[in-house]
Symmetry: C2
Subunit: 211 residues, 2 copies
């Protein structure tokens, strides 16, 4: 995924000579906590957050140029850069948002932290059920019942919990990937459990084929 | 993971009778774009964002009570609630942050969107290599070389790319889970690829055992 697939295209922008009070109205109206500062060609020249605006209003500073962070001091990301770079910077520097620029240094969007949350969380929302369906499709010749039976056996072996295949099926109908990795204690453990299930059903499948 | 494991404990808070100009200084100094409004017992009574503060400063409103959103209008999350609820609300309502409360309605922290990004992205940063190590450990009797050989075969079969086991190993040394799911086109596809690898090495393993 590229930066330009995760950005807000309805971003606001301001000019260095804009009046701070007007900028504050614009930001409030459109609920934007940050705004890029651009020149007449839309080239990035700076960055303003609502906390710069409160200082400007309080101290009676008139223009955006008096409160903005200059281009050199801020993070920006190229539209074709991998979006995970934006994720890393947001997380490391606790950013609210960052501008997305093209080859000409023009601002074409803004990536906001909640846009990132939106993208990342959609992964977490994948139903475990879907992963099992993909697994069954890949493991040709294994029935759904065999898969649930194997999962119940592995769960009993791992957790000691006396779970039946039908309980297991009900659990994965509702659970998401995010819940499962938190419940199992991390991606590696979740994954090891699935490999164990895979190993068991494949052993059953090969056993059947040799009969 | 619970809400209280993901929250900022160094949050700021203000009282309804606080002077807005003072609050703005506090928010700027500690770089907080939002703040809970509490009563003397730390009970949540409202919420203020830096965009409410800019309006207050511009319109000459004196106290926090004149700009705050009342408790009933805002999202909060119980400290023991699953943190994914905070993720869902942040993503759905494009929130910058939300207060975390305990059984007594006291504010004990704030979950910020970049804290969520931080937590979610740590999952993405798991090295694929680690998953393969976990896989090898689970599949007792399968060597690392067999695993790489099987992965190269499956990759060739799926993508047509003429990849050697040593190329595959080099790829997974550097790649993260996040890169892999974006490269393969989603969690299910990534997962199907791994199951295919698992099936192949298990078939090899069982074949060896029967010799």
């Amino acid at each position: 995924m590229k930066a330009n697939e995760m950005m807000d295209k309805d971003f606001i922008y301001v000019y260095p000579e804009d009046i701070i009070a007007d900028v504050s109205v614009k930001m409030e109206k459109l609920r934007r906590f940050t705004t890029p500062v651009v020149d007449p060609d839309m080239k990035l020249v700076g960055w303003v957050t609502s906390l710069d605006v409160t200082r400007g209003l309080r101290e009676g500073i008139k223009n955006v140029s008096g409160i903005m962070h200059h281009k050199e001091e801020i993070m920006s990301i190229h539209e074709n850069a991998p979006s995970r770079l934006a994720v890393i910077e947001t997380s490391k520097n606790k950013l609210i948002s960052m501008p997305v620029i093209n080859d000409n240094d023009e601002v074409i969007g803004v990536i906001r932290s909640f846009d990132i949350v939106d993208t990342l969380s959609s992964l977490y929302d994948v139903k475990i059920y879907k992963l099992y369906e993909a697994m069954q499709k890949e493991l040709k010749g294994v029935t759904w019942e065999e898969l649930m039976e194997a999962s119940a056996i592995i769960t009993r072996r791992t957790t000691g919990e006396r779970i039946k295949p039908e309980d297991y099926e009900r659990n994965i109908r509702n659970a998401t990937f995010g819940e499962a990795i938190w419940a199992t204690g991390g991606l590696e453990k979740f994954f090891v459990g699935l490999i164990a299930v895979g190993e068991l059903v494949i052993a059953i499948k090969i056993g059947k084929a040799r009969k």
